[in-house]
């Protein structure tokens, strides 16, 4: 017995982590998957009912709005975070004075919760006392900025706050990437007469392909899961105009007591994340094995 323990001690120590993750991650996802095929309402019921929930979900007006919002949000969030992140990283890479201070400023929103961020931006964007009033007081009397309470535009306020929170993160990723490139490559290119612009556009940015890939995966991941920011900024409103899948899921489960339908939406989100993550993990692992 003692011998066995001694020999297998490493595996015994590994067991809690593997056991917990098997149960709480894989087991739970499977449970959710199973429930999505049942007709559970308030309490889970275990007799199978078929794919009815999937049909119901994709016929639901609110879910379709949530998916559309997710597409709008994800694409804008991706574009703005990436562009701002890259520009800031390249500019900071030019032997800038006070680089440390600037970097700290660009990245601090990452330390805050989305609830804090949402609370702050909600105040800034509120039409009666926020930015709109500021411009009116400055003499732009016809200035209007009411996106927060405007059905058509409210989704863009979530983009504004989301980009504010995450752009610095992309900057940090790219800055680390740029700093890992040998100086010689840049110098050699300059000697050949390449302008700074060409150096970045033709040489350095193409070298950053893995960083693009990483930040793409992370940003898409953040946006599919985004929940807190919407809750804090708009609660999905005005009306249901800024509902997102994560919010649909919790509302359907805990306010509407439609457990099976909610599980179905969770599985759709799971599949969306998996579609991005699995190729990513696969390529990362291959790269690691190659090196």
């Amino acid at each position: 017995m003692f011998k066995w323990l001694e020999k297998n001690l490493p595996k015994v120590v590994l067991a809690p982590a593997v056991g917990l993750i098997s149960w709480f991650v894989y087991g739970f996802v499977l449970w959710t998957f199973y429930i999505s095929f049942t007709n559970s309402k308030i309490l889970p019921r275990y007799e199978l009912w078929g794919v009815g929930n999937y049909a119901k979900l994709w016929a639901s007006h609110k879910w379709l709005i949530a998916v559309e919002n997710l597409f709008v949000f994800t694409s804008l969030f991706l574009i703005f975070c990436t562009v701002i992140g890259i520009v800031l990283a390249i500019f900071l890479d030019q032997k800038i004075r006070a680089e440390g201070v600037l970097r700290t400023i660009y990245l601090y929103p990452m330390a805050l919760s989305f609830i804090v961020t949402g609370t702050a931006w909600k105040w800034i964007l509120n039409p009666s006392l926020g930015i709109q009033k500021m411009f009116i007081d400055w003499g732009f009397e016809n200035f209007t900025f009411d996106w927060l309470v405007n059905r058509e535009m409210a989704i863009y306020t979530i983009v504004i706050a989301g980009v504010w929170q995450s752009a610095g993160f992309v900057m940090a990723l790219f800055l680390a990437g740029l700093r890992s490139v040998e100086d010689e490559i840049v110098k050699a290119a300059k000697i050949d007469g390449a302008s700074l612009f060409t150096v970045y556009w033709k040489i350095l940015l193409p070298m950053m392909r893995p960083v693009f890939f990483t930040s793409f995966v992370i940003l898409v991941h953040i946006s599919i899961k985004s929940y807190d920011l919407v809750v804090a900024l708009t609660q999905g409103g005005p009306g249901i105009s800024t509902t997102m899948p994560a919010m649909y899921m919790t509302q359907t489960a805990f306010h509407k007591s439609q457990v099976a339908l909610s599980a179905t939406s969770a599985i759709m989100m799971f599949m969306a994340v998996a579609a991005v993550i699995i190729p990513y993990l696969y390529s990362e692992l291959r790269r690691e094995n190659a090196s």
Partner: protein, 301 residues
């Protein structure tokens, strides 16, 4: 010879572009400062708003400074106004969060360290699959586990309690902590461990005598990462707790959304700052480790 000519050519090139360079640098600083103001703007607005009276808020704009440093809103946000029911304030929830964060960070970090140690220094057939198996846990959207988790906490009798949240955060922190420690220990030479094993050192002795003493940086990275994640969590907090057991982010959200009285933006902003200050302090003091966690958590998490 070759090197000399190219160096000369290079310096000449540098000189020629001096004027353009200067313009370019002005432009550079302009853009950098412009963005810095975009990033600093909400923090500035939060701070000045929290120090104004409602009267001042209505009269001035977002940017106007308060006429005097008035910490009343902070006191209201922290301790309330002292009239029993309906008076929500952050103090008890702040302590809830502390009671939740400390054990959850400790346990998840400890389990991650052990797991990372086994996966790198006691390798066995299929260990990289085990790692991948755990790693996938970093990515799942938590919506896919919310419903069964709510039921499990109910069955265990710890729903709506701080203990329940400690369990949840410990479990879902393991993939990340494992990732950090595994990637750190992989770069520690295995020869050290082998030599110690030949000398007769056992599993735990090797961990405590050889690996733990050099683990300070990764422990800091992991603790900061977990602290920030758990402190800032809203999804688990709002799903698995309500009322008195809620963590601070949930309380902040409830406070801001409560529509019982006239909106007091100064108190809202003071509350938001209070909820954000612990992670902000950690970030300012240990930014280097924070960023390392972010980027290595990101590169594979």
């Amino acid at each position: 010879m070759q090197a000399k000519t190219s160096l000369a050519a290079y310096t000449q090139l540098e000189k020629k572009s001096k004027v353009t360079n200067m313009l370019l640098r002005w432009f550079l600083y302009f853009v950098l400062i412009l963005f810095a103001s975009y990033f600093i703007f909400p923090l500035y607005v939060m701070i000045v708003t929290s120090l104004k009276t409602m009267e001042e808020i209505r009269q001035g704009t977002l940017l106007t400074l308060p006429s005097e440093l008035n910490f009343d809103s902070w006191a209201v946000a922290w301790e309330g106004r002292g009239y029993g029911a309906g008076d929500t304030f952050l103090k008890p929830y702040f302590w809830n969060s502390i009671k939740m964060v400390v054990p959850a960070v400790f346990f998840s970090t400890f389990i991650g360290a052990m797991t990372g140690y086994v996966l790198t220094k006691w390798r066995f057939k299929g260990d990289s699959w085990v790692f991948l198996f755990l790693l996938f846990g970093c990515f799942i959207p938590f919506q896919a586990i919310l419903l069964p988790m709510a039921r499990t906490l109910g069955v265990l009798g710890i729903s709506n309690s701080i203990l329940g949240l400690v369990v949840v955060h410990t479990v879902y922190g393991i993939p990340f902590t494992t990732l950090f420690f595994r990637n750190y220990y992989v770069s520690v030479p295995t020869e050290l461990v082998k030599a110690a094993r030949i000398d007769g050192a056992g599993f735990f002795k090797i961990f405590f005598k050889i690996l733990l003493p050099i683990s300070a940086p990764i422990i800091v990275v992991t603790v900061i990462w977990q602290f920030t994640q758990i402190w800032n969590d809203f999804l688990f907090g709002s799903t698995f707790s309500f009322g008195k057991a809620a963590p601070i982010q949930v309380a902040l959200n409830n406070m801001v959304l409560s529509s019982t009285s006239v909106k007091e933006y100064n108190v809202d902003m003071a509350s938001a700052i209070i909820a954000g200050i612990p992670t902000l302090i950690v970030y300012v003091l240990a930014g280097k480790y924070f960023i390392r966690g972010l980027t290595s958590g990101a590169v594979k998490g």
